[in-house]
């Protein structure tokens, strides 16, 4: 399977609820990055967590990293309709810094 795979593939929640997305990867990493993409638009960088960090917060975002399980999670608290987008995790491969993206989680927040 691929480096950087997210689950679930799709998530539909009500406004105000929390959304959790997970990402698994295969190789050793220096950091893991989460991006958001609104339909047909560019990729917006959300947060970077380094391999020596376990948790990081940015506003309503909370990211965890478990290097022993090679997994990360992105939690969006108190979701809003504007959070509707695709969310991707991406990892730079150890021997280079090209990013390898997963297939993404499509999040729909219903108002």
């Amino acid at each position: 399977s691929q480096q950087g795979e997210e689950d679930p593939q799709a998530l539909s929640i009500q406004e105000g609820e929390n959304a959790t997305m997970n990402c698994s990867y295969k190789t050793s990493i220096n950091n893991l990055q989460w991006y958001r993409q609104n339909s047909g638009r560019g990729l917006v960088h959300l947060i970077l967590i380094r391999s020596n960090e376990r948790e990081k917060h940015s506003g309503r975002l909370r990211v965890t990293l478990d290097t022993s399980k090679k997994s990360s999670s992105l939690l969006i608290t108190a979701s809003r309709a504007a959070d509707t987008a695709s969310y991707f995790c991406a990892t730079p491969l150890e021997y280079g810094n090209k990013l390898v993206f997963g297939a993404g989680t499509i999040l729909r927040v219903k108002s």
Binding site: Q33, G40, K98
Partner: protein
Amino acid sequence: EPEVTQTPSHQVTQMGQEVILRCVPISNHLYFYWYRQILGQKVEFLVSFYNNEISEKSEIFDDQFSVERPDGSNFTLKIRSTKLEDSAMYFCATNRDRENEQYFGPGTRLTVT
């Protein structure tokens, strides 16, 4: 806040034609990348560029593709003879150094007919 910009936002071209996609990186960034995303698929790495040369390229980046930084500002991706399967969103990305996040431009939607 500084942004990566890309032009054009949408390019329609006929098969076999050459296209040049342009990117203006964030000014103090040293590493530049091109990625593409075919509709409904993953974002795929094409090429990375540092110190005026290609540092890494993917299998997708064949002889039909080239990159350059002609004037020290713009970073361009050229496709010499476009194919139907080159239709995709092309994203430029840059970062200050290898250890930090990459910032993406808004993309150029390339449609090859």
